[in-house]
């Protein structure tokens, strides 16, 4: 099965590779290298001058309790978003898999939120949950429940987790549905003939067979929650109240974009880059092994 195309010269393959290599260099290696360099310097906002400070920026970060709190908060947030988004998506997918009448409509509606821009989805949540002008938020307050996510950190975390998970459910749904449909009917039929009822059948047959999908989605969701949730969180709470919803990406944005602390925010970016490299490496190892087996 080993088919290879062998080029006779060296020029053509290099030429064919060049566009992709150039894109990678300009849009990944160059910015990444600049970030690494910036993280080793202290620089004024207008770039009038800079001094080399070695690992000072990293030392400041790693000894800053607020940074460590933010990192911990990010972990909690990512796990919560991933678990919630995947659990809901799996539940919906299992049901969608059984629907016969109107399945097209049902699926379209479930996939819809994926197309909504983060800021827009955040605005939708504000209209529902805001303590003063949100439909549900107002109702809660008039019915004796002290609801104000703009001032209550725990409620705020709940809101950003829900909003971020909501956006990701659609994506997970598509993959779970595809995963469910690729499970051979014969296996399910056999389990049914052996007398395995709904939950038992799901737990012992369906879910284990979905493992590759689940693992893939877990990695994707963790990365999504860590990075792509920025728009949703920023539009909902800007990281507040206090620092209760400030995840690492929100902090990078605030320190770099608003506070103009270029060295410090570059150092944070470099640490985040290392985290992504680690997650991706794990994914490749794990996924690679799964496809081989």
């Amino acid at each position: 099965m080993d088919r290879r195309t062998v080029f006779s010269g060296r020029l053509l393959p290099h030429l064919l590779l060049a566009p992709q290599l150039l894109l990678t260099v300009f849009f990944f290696y160059w910015p990444a290298a600049t970030a690494v360099w910036s993280s080793l310097t202290a620089e004024d906002a207008f770039g009038q001058g800079w001094i080399f400070v070695g690992l000072d920026n990293f030392q400041d970060l790693l000894t800053d309790p607020l940074y460590l709190q933010s990192a911990l908060r990010t972990v909690v947030f990512c796990v919560a978003v991933s678990v919630l988004a995947m659990a809901v998506a799996l539940l919906l997918a299992v049901f969608a898999d059984r629907v016969i009448a109107g399945r097209g409509l049902y699926r379209t509606l479930l996939i819809w939120p994926y197309a909504v821009a983060p800021a827009t989805s955040a605005a939708l949540f504000v209209f529902v949950l805001h303590p003063r002008f949100g439909l549900l938020g107002r109702w809660l307050n008039t019915h004796g429940f002290d609801w104000d996510y703009t001032l209550n950190g725990v409620q705020a975390m709940g809101v950003v987790i829900a909003a971020s998970a909501w956006k990701q459910v659609s994506y997970n749904f598509i993959f779970f549905l595809a995963g469910l449909q690729s499970i051979p009917r014969a296996v399910i039929e056999a389990a049914r003939m052996d007398g395995a009822k709904g939950w038992l059948r799901f737990r012992t047959i369906t879910f284990p067979l979905l493992t590759p999908t689940t693992v893939f989605l877990l990695v994707v969701n963790l990365v999504y929650a860590a990075f792509d949730s920025f728009g949703t969180i920023y539009a909902l709470t800007q990281g507040g109240p206090s620092k209760d919803t400030e995840t690492l990406v929100i902090k990078v944005f605030r320190d770099g974009y608003i506070n103009h602390d270029i060295g410090g925010s570059s150092a944070q970016s470099v640490l985040l880059m290392l985290a992504v490299i680690a997650v991706t490496a794990v994914q490749f190892r794990f996924m690679g092994r799964r496809t081989l087996s």
Binding site: T41, A42, E43, D44, A45, F46, G47, Q48, G49, W50, I51, V53, L66, R132, T150, L151, N152, G153, Q238, G240, P241, S242, K243, R254, Y257, I258, N259, H260, D261, I262, G263, G264
Partner: protein, 453 residues
């Protein structure tokens, strides 16, 4: 790295430009060519204010044939400053930029990227008399020795807004606004007892009004080295006894249900406009919006003070923005002269008066204020003179000149974060301000480090 070489070229080209003391007016060659010099002006004004900016530009363009000013909206103040920094680093800064007052420290650290007003005046012969400006405005935008760094443009100050309807419902005299914090608190208790308004008291611009303005009014230092005017190695000191007392008062009122914290910065403005609050604090520049959209009877009043801290309150400090002249590698002396011509136009009392009248900002020059008085503007708009008088009263001290701190927006965010933590019951006022001072000082230290770089 290419960026840096471009920037390295900037000072050279500047040095090459001869210092000129020639009277204003462009060189004959430019005029002969019949080409107008275009000046780009980045601003952050929206809605009615943006129209007013356009009116100024149109008026200026029609008034002379040499210079064409082009106002460009660049988003919020924060967005504009970030875009400005990026453009400046790329060597493509606009000629003029409107930068909010808290960005002043950052802009003063911009070195060769900006041309301060006094430098521009020296090079182009622009006549600008700092004494024409009211001291609270002049002080904020000048160097410690009095030389003006940026051109005052839109200035406001903090005021108290009274919902007269709510006062009536609470059985309070709607024509007598509380003058002290003790009276404010008593009024709020009455409003709550009678359920005269959903929110007895709220505040916009929490840090600016309840801490920065409060410190100025009560002649308390905000930071060492004359609030940062005397050097970069400044330290925050707003955790003094009187400030702790004020913040604790707000925390206690929040507990009683008489004070509602409605969000950071200007986020509570809609609450003020809706009339839900009986007493609110905000920028005097909100007046235009209140006139246009408030569905309740309101009044403007001076910020209250605490007679246990000071007998007569000092002047308040300003907010708003000023115009900074930016440099770029290939900018010609003629372009700087064109900027100077426009700044001269902006500084005329008539324009100042019209701008203040149409927007709700305060007039920044003495002459502009007098012109408005003469036109009878303040007779027709009761209370509109309160911010000007609040800014101009007393003798300015080192504590009431304003703040000169790098990364001030970040320090404001820190204070608001600590306040939000306290409101959740996490700490008292002393701990809140101590933490904010400690975290803020780290920010100032980082700023000093990067500014020296």
């Amino acid at each position: 790295m290419r960026r840096r070489t471009l920037l390295a070229a900037a000072p050279l080209s500047l040095a090459a430009a001869p210092l000129s003391l020639a009277p204003l007016g462009l060189s004959a060659s430019a005029a002969r060519a019949g080409e107008k010099i275009t000046i780009i002006w980045w601003h952050a004004m929206t809605a009615a204010l943006a129209e007013e900016v356009k009116r100024i530009a149109d008026g200026f363009n029609a008034s002379q044939a040499e210079v064409e000013i082009q106002p460009v909206y660049k988003g919020s103040y924060g967005d504009l400053l970030t875009a400005l920094i990026a453009a400046s680093r790329a060597g493509e800064a606009p000629h003029l930029a409107q930068v909010f007052e808290v960005g002043t420290g950052t802009m003063l650290g911009a070195g060769k990227a900006v041309k301060q007003v006094w430098e521009l005046a020296k090079e182009t012969g622009l006549q600008i008399d700092p004494k024409a400006y009211i001291p609270a405005v002049r002080g904020y935008y000048s160097l410690a020795d009095g030389r003006m760094a940026s051109m005052p443009f839109n200035s406001s100050t903090g005021v108290m807004w009274i919902n007269k309807d709510a006062f009536r419902r609470a059985g309070l005299n709607p024509d007598k606004a509380p003058a002290t914090w003790q009276e404010v608190r008593a009024a709020c208790d009455a409003i709550k007892a009678k359920s005269a308004a959903p929110i007895p008291m709220t505040t916009s611009w929490f840090t600016w009004i309840q801490l920065e303005q409060y410190s100025a009014l009560h002649n308390l230092p905000y930071a060492t080295k004359e609030n940062g005017f005397e050097g970069l190695d400044t330290q925050l000191v707003f955790n003094g006894k009187a400030q702790v007392k004020q913040i604790q008062r707000l925390l206690d009122m929040a507990k009683d249900g008489t004070f509602k914290y409605s969000g950071r910065d200007g986020a509570p403005d809609p609450v003020i406009l809706s009339g839900d609050a009986a007493i609110s604090f905000g920028s005097s520049a909100a007046r235009g919006n209140l006139v246009k959209s408030a569905k309740f009877e309101w009044a403007e009043a001076a910020l209250p003070y605490d007679p246990e801290v000071i007998k007569t309150p000092e002047n308040s400090i300003i907010g708003g923005a000023s115009l900074w002249t930016m440099t770029a590698p290939k900018r010609t002396p003629a372009e700087y002269k064109a900027v100077a011509i426009f700044l001269r136009y902006i500084g005329t009392p008539d324009l100042d008066a019209t701008w203040a009248q149409n927007t709700g900002y305060v007039p920044v020059t003495h002459a502009g204020f007098e012109a408005l008085k003469k036109q009878g503007y303040y007779d027709k708009n009761v209370g509109a003179d309160i911010p000007v008088e609040q800014l101009a009263r007393g003798k300015m001290t080192a504590n009431t000149r304003g703040l000169r701190l790098g990364r001030l927006p970040e320090i404001r965010a820190i204070i608001q974060e600590e306040m939000e933590k306290a409101l959740q019951g996490g700490q008292n006022a002393q701990a809140l301000l101590d933490n904010a001072v400690e975290r803020g000082n780290k920010v100032l230290k980082d700023f000093a480090k990067s500014a020296k770089a």
